[in-house]
C-alpha cells in the first residue's frame, strides 16, 4: 500500500493552511433603507427589491 514517506512538518501544514481564507462578502446599500445587503438580491431588512415589496416584513 502506498504510504507517505515522511511526516509533514507543522510548518508545512500551517504554511499550506495560511492560504485557506474566507473571501470578503460583496455588499451594497439598500435603495430603500440603506441597510447593507447582497447585490441583486432582496433586502432582508425591508423586504424590497427594485422598489417592489417582495417579502412581508
Amino acid at each position: 500500500m502506498a504510504v507517505p514517506k515522511r511526516k509533514k512538518s507543522r510548518s508545512r501544514t500551517r504554511s499550506r493552511r495560511a492560504q485557506w481564507k474566507a473571501a470578503p462578502l460583496t455588499l451594497v446599500a439598500c435603495d430603500r433603507c440603506q441597510e447593507t445587503k447582497r447585490p441583486h438580491t432582496v433586502c432582508q431588512n425591508c423586504g424590497t427589491y427594485d422598489k417592489r415589496q417582495v417579502l412581508a416584513v
Partner: protein, 190 residues
C-alpha cells in the same frame, strides 16, 4: 430520440428532472408564487411560460398537451382538473395582452444549512390599460423608424447600382488587355 441536455440536471436523471419541473409548475400555477432554489427557478421559467402560452390558445388539443407536460395523469383527478382549470380560465386570460415573460425571478440569497442560493419565482401582474397604451405607442414609433430606414436604403441603392456595374466592366476589360500584352512577346520569342 431527443438527446439529453448537456450539463447538470435537476434530480438524478432526465426523467426525474421532468417530474421535478412538472411538480414545480403545478405548485406555481396553484400558488402563483413559490420559493425554491435559484437553479430550479431558472429551469422552471422556460418550462412554464410555453404552457401559459399554450393555455392562451385554449382549445382541447392545447389542454391535452399541457396536461401531458404537467403529468396530470400522476395527480389525483380532482386536483389535476383544478390545475388545468386555473391555468386556462384564470391565468391565461390575464396575459392576453402580454407577449411572453409571464414570470419574475427574484433572488433571495443563500439558504441556511446548505448555502444554496434561493429565489422566488412568481407570476407577474397583468398589464394595466396605461401600460398597454405606452407599449403600443412604442411599437408604433419603432415600426415608423424601421419603415423610414427601409425607404432611405432603397432609394440610393437604385441610383448606385448601374454606376457600380460600369466600373467593374471597365476594370475587367483593362485586366484582359494587360494579359494579352504580357502573352504576346513570349509567343514571338518561341
Amino acid at each position: 430520440m431527443p438527446a439529453p441536455k448537456k450539463g447538470p440536471r435537476l434530480g438524478g436523471n432526465g426523467t426525474h428532472q421532468k417530474h421535478i419541473l412538472a411538480n414545480l409548475a403545478k405548485s406555481l400555477i396553484e400558488h402563483e408564487r413559490i420559493t425554491t432554489t435559484e437553479a430550479k427557478a431558472r429551469q422552471l421559467r422556460p418550462f412554464v411560460e410555453p404552457l401559459i402560452t399554450k393555455a392562451k390558445k385554449g382549445d382541447l388539443h392545447a389542454r391535452r398537451q399541457v396536461a401531458a407536460t404537467l403529468e396530470l395523469r400522476n395527480t389525483p383527478f380532482y386536483s389535476g382538473r383544478d390545475t388545468l382549470f386555473k391555468l386556462f380560465e384564470e391565468i391565461a386570460p390575464r396575459y392576453a395582452a402580454r407577449p411572453g415573460g409571464y414570470t419574475r425571478i427574484v433572488k433571495l440569497g443563500p439558504r441556511r444549512g446548505d448555502n444554496a442560493p434561493m429565489a422566488i419565482i412568481e407570476l407577474v401582474e397583468p398589464l394595466t390599460v396605461a401600460q398597454e397604451a405606452t407599449r403600443e405607442a412604442e411599437a408604433a414609433t419603432k415600426r415608423a423608424v424601421k419603415e423610414n430606414e427601409a425607404k432611405a436604403e432603397a432609394a440610393p441603392a437604385e441610383d448606385a447600382a448601374p454606376v457600380a456595374d460600369e466600373v467593374t466592366e471597365t476594370e475587367v476589360a483593362d485586366e484582359v488587355e494587360d494579359k494579352v500584352e504580357d502573352a504576346a512577346p513570349k509567343s514571338d520569342e518561341a
